[in-house]
């Protein structure tokens, strides 16, 4: 329960108007606004990069790279296409996975440097849930059976394809597919219950 309290505290809803204005100032090269965005979202970005990379030093580098990309590409964020935080976290995920692949000498994600691809991986505006619903995803993932949680971890936070997971886990490809599908269906069910 203590974890949930912590999560909610860090996920405090952001005032949309203020956020839009802040991002607009960042696109105009306002460094103060940029640092305000950093102060607001650094823990979210760093939490994700640390979860993916598992190494504090590498995670800090990935967090830094994420915010430097935000500084140089803030203009590519389109408020009408979705909230800011998932856009920023999608960039962070790609940066961290690219770093992970670099460290493990695996090929980089094909969409890692294409900002248009970032939008394509995000849900449509109509289906974007409010942040308060996202908080529950953490607990939804934790509630999965260990073998289902494992495939979600490897697919989403390690960037492995189904074939790569089958190789890493030593499972038949069919088993990986079945468990990944089951895990995603379970998460969707939990999602729709909210």
């Amino acid at each position: 329960m203590r974890d949930q309290t912590k999560l909610i505290r860090y996920n405090e809803p952001v005032n949309d108007v203020d956020e839009s204005a802040l991002i607009a100032r960042v696109t105009q090269g306002d460094e103060r606004a940029f640092l305000m965005v950093y102060d607001r979202y650094a823990s979210r970005v760093h939490g994700l990069t640390l979860h993916i990379l598992g190494d504090p030093m590498l995670a800090e580098e990935a967090t830094q790279d994420t915010f430097l990309k935000l500084w140089s590409r803030a203009r590519q964020y389109l408020a009408e296409r979705g909230p800011f935080l998932p856009w920023l976290l999608t960039i962070a995920r790609h940066v961290a996975l690219d770093r992970l692949r670099l460290e493990a000498r695996r090929p980089a994600l094909s969409d890692s440097n294409d900002p248009e691809e970032v939008w394509q991986t995000l849900p449509d505006l109509e289906t974007v849930a409010e942040e308060s619903r996202w908080r529950s995803t953490y607990f939804a993932v934790q509630s999965l059976q260990p073998d289902l949680r494992q495939v979600i971890e490897l697919a989403y936070y390690q960037g492995l394809s189904q074939s790569e997971m089958a190789e890493v886990l030593g499972w038949p490809l069919g088993t990986v597919k079945t468990r990944l599908r089951a895990a995603m269906e379970k998460l969707r069910e939990l999602w729709n219950e909210k």
Binding site: Y38, G47, T121, E126, Y138, R181, A183, R188
Partner: protein
């Protein structure tokens, strides 16, 4: 589309939404999605789950140093770190004057070196001329004719003072990596080097004076060959002329 045809694509949607579908299966699913509204709706739901996973990790505050590092990468920090060059008109004038002085100085040094070179050449020619005059005026100096094709001239041989001088006309100019080499020839036909020389540019004749270490009385002739620059230990190239004493 029947249910059986639809199922293989539908089954791949969760993996596609989370980015785990293998590359080989992506194109087929994307083609199917263009024509199937039901699958697009399903994909949207799974993408919402996928997006929610972005926030499913516990937040973690990075170190305070990271903020400082990031701040140092911003343009204002870069500008303040960069040295500023702001020149007043006075400083600009002084700078230009210094640059002009540097150019003039360099030009003067180059001219001085050129003059020194010319002076050295003149001094050498003067010494050669003096030596030739003294040899010609010495009673025992022998004068032998040089004649080989176009190359003509005189060989002055002063056995008392052990000096041999060549005054040769029409010596062909040589490539940069070649030289003429003078050889003293002993009675057995062995050759001993008596120096190297190159024709002086702009002059029809060439003079070469040698002061051999060995006594000239030990030799019976003199020859000149073309050798690689720096000379050779023994003749290797074409002979230009030979004079018997």
């Amino acid at each position: 589309m029947t249910r059986n045809e639809h199922t293989p694509f539908s089954e791949n949607i969760p993996a596609y939404a989370i980015g785990a579908l293998d590359v080989d299966d992506i194109a087929a699913l994307e083609a199917h999605l263009k024509t199937c509204a039901a699958c697009r709706t399903e994909l949207a739901e799974y993408r919402a789950v996928s997006a929610a996973l972005l926030t499913a990790t516990p937040p973690k505050q990075p170190s305070a140093e990271l903020r400082k590092r990031l701040q140092s990468r911003l343009p204002s920090a870069q500008k303040s770190a960069r040295p500023r060059f702001s020149w007043s008109l006075g400083q600009l004038a002084v700078g230009m004057a210094l640059a002009l002085l540097l150019v003039l100085n360099t030009y003067s040094i180059l001219q001085m070196r050129s003059l020194q070179l010319a002076q050295t050449q003149l001094a050498r020619q003067y010494r050669t001329g003096q030596t030739l005059i003294s040899m010609l005026s010495y009673p025992t100096t022998e004068r032998l004719a040089i004649s080989a094709d176009d190359v003509v001239g005189s060989l002055l041989l002063d056995k008392d003072r052990n000096i041999v001088a060549l005054i040769v006309w029409n010596m062909p100019q040589l490539q940069e990596d070649m030289t003429y080499q003078v050889w003293l020839i002993d009675p057995q036909g062995d050759r001993v080097s008596a120096g190297i020389f190159r024709p002086e540019s702009g002059q029809a004749y060439t003079t070469q004076i040698s002061f051999p270490k060995q006594n000239l009385t030990n030799f019976v002739g003199i020859g000149v060959t073309v050798e690689p620059a720096g000379g050779s230990a023994a003749p290797t190239g074409e002979r230009v002329f030979k004079v018997d004493f």
